[in-house]
């Protein structure tokens, strides 16, 4: 019932729409239109990708010729590359920010949110998102996060430099590395804003998909793209808050002298007063997000390629139900595999064994998806549109990448 009511409401909204005067700002900047927000995410994502690529070129040039000086680097980086050689601290900062931008700002926001915003209302037959205002806010939180992250390049001590996983105590102690000063604080604030933006987006996608589907479209009639976006949003809603919890504790450790992650530390001969914490705690909290994050990145791509392949092979996707169940399987299992990032961290070896089992189990739904894609191509009438070429590429990449995961 509520589905229909909401839908009608939106129809009425639409009738009134013609009377609105749209200014430049309301149309392009503080837009509440899902398509415009999708474009905003796409463009910001692309800009961030270009920046991150530029950073990677800088550090890879130095990596390729570690014993050479590049005067042009000094032109770009100033005191960070005196004499044309990148300082080791700043090298780490480049790597850190490159990783952070690519994983969070490009792959999560640029891919998943662009297409979620663009396609969800179109494919479930809704006029717009459940809450267009929240949707707009989600973009602007994301934008602010980007600005703060990039802003950390323009402070005295430089950006965060503890790797994109920012393991404490390195990230907690400014005496350990210069980047753990103000740069790290900015990183953490940026991350909180990013997660807030993710949650706003995710709640929106889930409520839109659950409540605003068009008449007659039950869950089992939804396109696979929508299933993928739906499950991605659920993953994000359940895992991102854990990162926020971890980040808040880290801020407490850094700024208010608590000892959540710190214990028994001697910097040089300076004995720190912290006792009783554990750096492993951060790793658990981080990877509890960090691993689902991998699937947050890949699942929208899986959903999109499924549809593209089905359309261009002129066949329905093979085993629609199996595809959905394997997506659900991946979603559920991805919450219990985070420990495979921590085999050598000093985590209890018994726990390592358990995580090995769950990690290999998650390969089963992935294998089912791959075989179903192959069966979709089988005896099809394949039209090689650019989208189709990319979709086949996705499958090839997913096979190669997935198999290295087992390894």
């Amino acid at each position: 019932m509520s589905t229909i009511a909401l839908h009608d409401e939106h129809n009425q909204d639409h009738n009134d729409h013609g009377h609105h005067k749209e200014t430049l700002i309301s149309k392009y900047i503080f837009s509440q239109d899902h398509k415009m927000i999708a474009k905003q995410f796409l463009i910001t994502g692309i800009i961030m990708a270009v920046i991150a690529m530029f950073l990677s070129i800088l550090f890879r040039i130095q990596l390729a010729w570690p014993d050479k000086n590049f005067p042009f680097l000094e032109t770009f980086l100033g005191k960070w590359a005196e004499g044309g050689r990148i300082k080791s601290d700043f090298y780490l900062a480049l790597v850190t920010i490159h990783g952070t931008i690519m994983v969070f700002f490009v792959l999560t926001a640029g891919l998943s949110r662009t297409f979620s915003n663009l396609l969800i209302p179109l494919q479930v037959g809704a006029r717009d998102m459940a809450s267009p205002f929240l949707n707009m806010l989600s973009y602007w939180f994301f934008f602010t996060a980007c600005v703060i992250m990039m802003g950390s390049f323009f402070i005295q001590t430089g950006p965060a430099a503890a790797g994109w996983t920012v393991y404490p105590p390195l990230s907690a102690l400014p005496t350990a590395i210069a980047g753990s000063g103000l740069g790290m604080t900015l990183w953490l604030i940026s991350m909180i804003l990013f997660v807030a933006s993710s949650l706003m987006g995710g709640i929106n996608y889930v409520s839109t998909i659950l409540n605003m589907r068009t008449k007659g479209m039950d869950l089992w009639k939804m396109p696979l793209t929508i299933w993928a976006f739906f499950l991605t949003a659920i993953l994000g809603i359940l895992s991102f808050p854990v990162l926020v919890a971890g980040v808040v504790l880290l801020i407490f450790d850094r700024s208010f002298g608590t000892s959540f992650y710190l214990s028994d530390i001697v910097m040089g001969t300076n004995i720190l007063p912290n006792e009783g914490g554990s750096p492993i705690l951060w790793q658990h909290l981080f990877w509890f997000l960090g691993h689902p994050e991998v699937y947050i990145v890949i699942m929208p791509a899986m959903g999109i390629s499924s549809e593209v392949m089905s359309v261009n092979a002129r066949k329905p996707i093979f085993g629609y139900h199996a595809m959905v169940y394997s997506l659900i399987g991946i979603t559920v299992l991805s919450f219990i595999v985070w420990g495979h990032h921590m085999f050598v961290t000093g985590m209890n070896p018994l726990l390592g064994g358990v995580f090995m089992v769950t990690t290999l189990i998650i390969a089963v739904p992935s294998a089912v998806k791959t075989f179903n894609w192959l069966a979709t191509l089988w005896r099809g009438n394949i039209r090689f549109t650019p989208a189709m070429l990319y979709a086949i590429g996705v499958v090839s990449f997913f096979i190669s990448g997935g198999l290295t995961g087992i390894l």
């Binding site: 002129r314 199996a322 394949i382 390894l407």
Partner: protein
């Protein structure tokens, strides 16, 4: 001559191949010239960077021109009302077939040429187990990779668009789906079981009373490693980070008798064939103790001791002969970003015979020196206890008695 004829012409094709070969060889010649050990001159690096950038741009330009030319050709064909022009489905499908063959050959080439660079030879007991596990997994995944890619690219080639044919309506088949759920599950069960056994044999060892492990304590700090050998009693003594001073950098608690005979070393020397129990600690941030040849990696965590036990099987000298490199050295590194000096945080490891090990150990100094004796209110001894490097329990009692006697 029409463009189609021009493209299909054998002479043109042969010329194109020759041109590519020529370009490639000259590129490699350039590369070889750049690699030659001339004076350190940046212009060379720039030249090679610019060279490859230009080559890349030239290739892009070439592809664009070819693409445009083909488009013009297609349009002109259409304008004349002739057949459709190029069958792009066929071109793409052929490219899929070609890239399958090239890709499979590339896979074979990578395995044969670079396969040996995957990991250095294992030099520890469990390293061999890990390698066999890795190889098994590699074989299984390679089979899956090859089969799925043959299917993926093969289907793309075979079932390319044709107006004469209709796609086969085949939405699902539960039997097939069950089969390809169960088969991967079974294969993975095998891997899980084997992995579990390997994992257990590494981390859950039962101690052999006749071959007790040598304890070695390794402490990491930015950006160096400190090594402590247990001395004659075979047990490294207690530490308390609060005792850290500039003369007692590890914070060793010398009120613990077991600490007093502990030896310091500036390289890690271990006897071949004896189990070694590493006690890993960190003073400041997280580091990672990594010995690639022995397949040992474990993080060192401040506030928590981590333990790894392994048995070296190949001495440094044997490895030098094996690799034909007289300068070969085992090393251990830091494998976790720990700050600006991370890249240079390493130490030598020497695997020697039991006899050499004992001789070496006898030469090492104790941590406890005269300054520290004063600090801990211990009597200044004329000579430190010489380590008797047999770590059996009987000897350690004797040494304990000796140290007790010294304290009186």
């Amino acid at each position: 001559m029409s463009l189609r004829k021009f493209i299909t012409n054998k002479t043109t094709a042969a010329l194109a191949v020759l041109l590519t070969v020529f370009a490639n060889t000259s590129a490699f010649a350039q590369d070889a010239a750049a690699a030659a050990p001339k004076a350190v001159d940046m212009s060379e690096v720039y030249r090679s960077v610019i060279f490859y950038t230009l080559v890349f741009l030239a290739v892009c330009l070439f592809i664009t021109i070819v693409g445009k030319a083909l488009k013009v050709y297609e349009l002109s064909q259409q304008a004349q009302g002739k057949a459709e022009g190029i069958n792009w489905h066929k071109v793409n499908a052929t490219l899929f077939a070609v890239s399958l063959i090239v890709g499979l050959y590339g896979l074979y080439w990578e395995y044969t040429v670079h396969g040996g660079m995957l990991l250095p030879d294992a030099a520890s007991e469990h390293g061999v187990k890990i390698d066999s596990m890795l190889n098994l997994t590699l074989i299984l995944t390679t089979i899956v990779l090859v089969v799925t890619h043959i299917l993926l690219f093969g289907f793309s080639y075979i079932y390319k668009f044709s107006p004469k044919r209709k796609a086969y309506y085949y939405p699902h088949n539960n039997t097939i789906e069950k089969i390809w759920t169960i088969i991967p599950a079974l294969v993975l069960t095998v891997l899980v079981l084997m992995g579990f056994l390997t994992w257990r044999s590494i981390f859950f060892k039962t101690e052999d009373p006749n071959n007790k492990p040598i304890q070695i304590e390794v402490t990491s700090e930015q950006f160096k490693w400190s090594i402590r050998y247990p001395g004659a009693d075979g047990i490294v003594g207690k530490r308390n980070y609060k005792l850290t001073t500039s003369s007692n950098t590890l914070g060793i608690d010398f009120s613990d008798l077991k600490s007093r005979d502990d030896l310091m070393a500036d390289e890690m020397v271990i006897p071949v064939g004896r189990p070694v129990k590493l006690l890993l600690n960190s003073k400041d941030v997280i580091h990672s103790f990594y010995m690639p040849h022995f397949r040992v990696q474990l993080n060192t965590v401040p506030g928590m001791q981590t333990i790894f036990e392994f048995t070296p099987t190949v001495t440094t000298r044997d490895m030098q002969e094996k690799t034909n490199d007289p300068n070969f050295k085992y090393l251990f590194y830091c494998a976790k970003i720990c700050g600006g000096g991370h890249y240079n945080m390493q130490k030598d490891v020497r695997v020697v015979s039991e006899k050499e090990y004992e001789e070496w150990l006898a030469k090492q100094k104790t941590f406890l020196n005269d300054d520290l004796r004063k600090q801990f209110n211990l009597p200044v001894a004329p000579a430190p206890v010489k380590a008797v490097s047999d770590s059996s329990a009987k000897d350690s009692v004797v040494v304990k008695n000796k140290t007790l006697a010294l304290n009186k």
